[in-house]
Every structure is written in C-alpha cells, then in structure tokens.
C-alpha cells in the first residue's frame, strides 16, 4: 500500500484548507503518482479534484507539489517517493479547489511577452526558412509545455509575482529572442529591461530543479541578461 497526504480545500464547504490521508494499493508496475490520484478519485473519494489530460508529460496539466518539489504527477514514479507522499497544489497560487489552482495571472504574464512570431518583412512565397544551426538555438526552449512547475517554485515570484515575470515566461521570452525568424528582437528586449520583470531573478535555481522536462530557465534568464548587455556595448 502507498500512503498519501493530500491538500484538500472545498470552497463550498468553507473553512480552512486541510490534509487528508489515503491508502492506495500498488496495482501496476511502473505506477505513477497520477495513477494513485485516479485510483482515489475513481474508487475512494470522487470529490478529490485535480487537473490532468494527456497523462504522459506533454500537456502540462497535472503540475503539483510532490514531497516539496514541483513536478508532473503523470511522469513521477511512486516507487521513488518517500511516504507518506505529500501532495499540494502548485505553490503561491490561489486555490480554486483541492489541487486545482487559478493560473489566470500566469497566462496573463505569458501573453504580455507576445509569444508569437513577429515579422514585418513581406511574407515569402514559401515558409520563412531557418538553417539547421538557427533551429538548434531553440533546443532547450521549445520543449517547454507551460506547466508552471518552475514559476511556482520561484521564491522571487512568490514575493514579487505581480511584477516579476517568472522563469517560465522568461524562458519563453528568450525562445522568441533567439528565433532567427523573429524581427522584433529589439522591442522584446526593450520591454524586458526592467528591474522587476527580469532582474528579480537571484539565481535561486529552484526552476531548474523543478522543471519536469529537464530545461534550464535560469540559463535562459542569464542569456537574456547577456543579450541586453551585448546590445549596450
């Protein structure tokens, strides 16, 4: 049996959030944390609420805090986890219910960096071409699935989340800065050059430790800082 301690909050019942214990059998080899949560929802307590969709680490829906570190429940093995497995919603976010948090602000911040290709030159007859080397610049950035594990692991974002953009959004910003097809690099950099939006990063590196896709948002943030510096000199 696996023991879990899960954060519960029911807005309709009122009252404070609490923790509830569950016991789940190991019913298949290579069982993931999401399997255990599904078992609870389907067999033990149907009111347990959490997000999930693809179940294989691609959609980024089931980001949560697992034994103190953020990760995706669907790709986290229960076998390696210390018991009781303490499951909480992504930190520093308004809780809607149980493990479901309100991500509105996170995606507002994402929208603010204009995460799309901006080009002013006339549209070519075929696609906008990129060399193999130029495309390789996007490795380690395009894999980001915006699960929010990194941003909600960042103490700087916890304290200054209203102004600091956070690791996920800054990694995405760097993705567009590095894209050889994008023609608004200067404008993007202008908008990021801000004591709070970018420079609240203090290299705490929780984002790097949390990223379930093995990316490095701290490295991306440092790359933006270097690009800004290179532009000045």
């Amino acid at each position: 049996m696996i023991r879990l301690e899960i954060y519960r909050y029911d807005p309709e019942a009122g009252g404070e959030p609490c923790r509830q214990s569950f016991e789940v059998p190991v019913f298949k080899p290579g069982m993931k944390l999401l399997d255990a949560l599904n078992y609870i929802k389907w067999k033990l307590d149907g009111t347990l609420t959490f997000r999930r969709s693809c179940g294989e680490g691609v959609c980024g829906s089931d980001g949560m805090n697992i034994n103190g570190v953020n990760g995706l429940a669907c790709i986290t093995d229960v076998a390696g986890l210390k018991q009781p497995i303490r499951v909480s919603p992504l930190p520093g976010m308004p809780v809607i219910r149980d493990l479901v948090v309100d991500t509105t602000h996170f995606f507002e911040q994402y929208r603010s960096i204009k995460p799309w290709l901006q080009a002013v030159s006339p549209v070519p007859e075929h696609e906008r071409l990129q060399s193999v080397e130029e495309r390789a610049q996007l490795d380690g950035m395009y894999e980001c699935i915006l699960c929010g594990c990194c941003t909600t692991s960042c103490p700087s974002w916890w304290w200054n989340g209203d102004r600091f953009l956070g690791p996920a959004v800054l990694l995405q910003a760097d993705r567009w800065i590095r894209d050889s097809r994008d023609e608004k690099t200067g404008e993007r950099l202008d908008k990021l050059e801000d004591a709070f939006k970018l420079y609240r990063c203090h290299q705490i590196m929780n984002c790097m430790e949390a990223c379930p896709k093995g990316l490095n948002p701290t490295g991306a943030i440092n790359h933006i800082k270097r690009t800004l510096l290179a532009r000045k000199s």
Binding site: N67, P91, G92, V95, I96, D102, S112, P155, W158, M205
Partner: protein, 130 residues
Amino acid sequence: MPTVKRPSYSRPLSPRLAVYRWQLPMIASLAHRATGIILALFVPVYLFILTGLTGSPDDFIRQMAWMHSVPGRLILWLTGTALIYHLVNGIRFILLDAGWFEARDSMRLTARISVGAGVLGALLLGGFLW
C-alpha cells in the same frame, strides 16, 4: 507591455515556503544574500575597530582585548566566514552571468563547491581563532 496586475481573490494561497523542500542551489543563493547583509552590517564595526586601533596606545590595548574576547572573536569569525562564502559564491555568480557552468549539473556542482568552501572556511577560521 501593459502592467500585469494580479486579480484579487478570496481564495486561499497554496502553501509555498511551508511545503517547499530546501535544495542546495536555493541555500547557496539565500546564503549569498545573507552573507552580503552581514558584510554590510560589519562596516560600522570595522570603523569602530579601526578608530580604536589607531587612537592612543591605551585604546590599542583595549581594542585588542575586545577582539580577543568571546563576542569579539564571534563577530570576527562570523564576518570572516561571510567574507569567504560571499567571495567564492560571488565569483560563481559572475561566471554564471558570463555564461560559464550553465548546464544543470554544473549549476548544482558549483553550488556544492560554494557551500563546501563556506563550511570549510568557517571550520578553518574557527580553528585559527580558538
């Protein structure tokens, strides 16, 4: 870019510091800020020691006695440790800023080296002072 405002909710905030597990790079960053504060706070103490040592011969003896007392030694030990750590980790941060050691494993390894240097410095300095 419009200023992004966090909407106000009556919803509870999910636990953050209370649940988050301490990890070495996090400790390294926090210790860097803490030792920076200690070093800044030491400036008036340093001036106090300096004026004491450069006054009269009597002042010099009194100042030396204070520096050899337990609180004096503790302050010197704390500041010395802070200086060693802040120096080593400061170099690490500058190298990271310059684009060195940016792989995930290197970030972890250099955090270990910084914290290890701080602990080693504290022990050596402690041995020297007592």
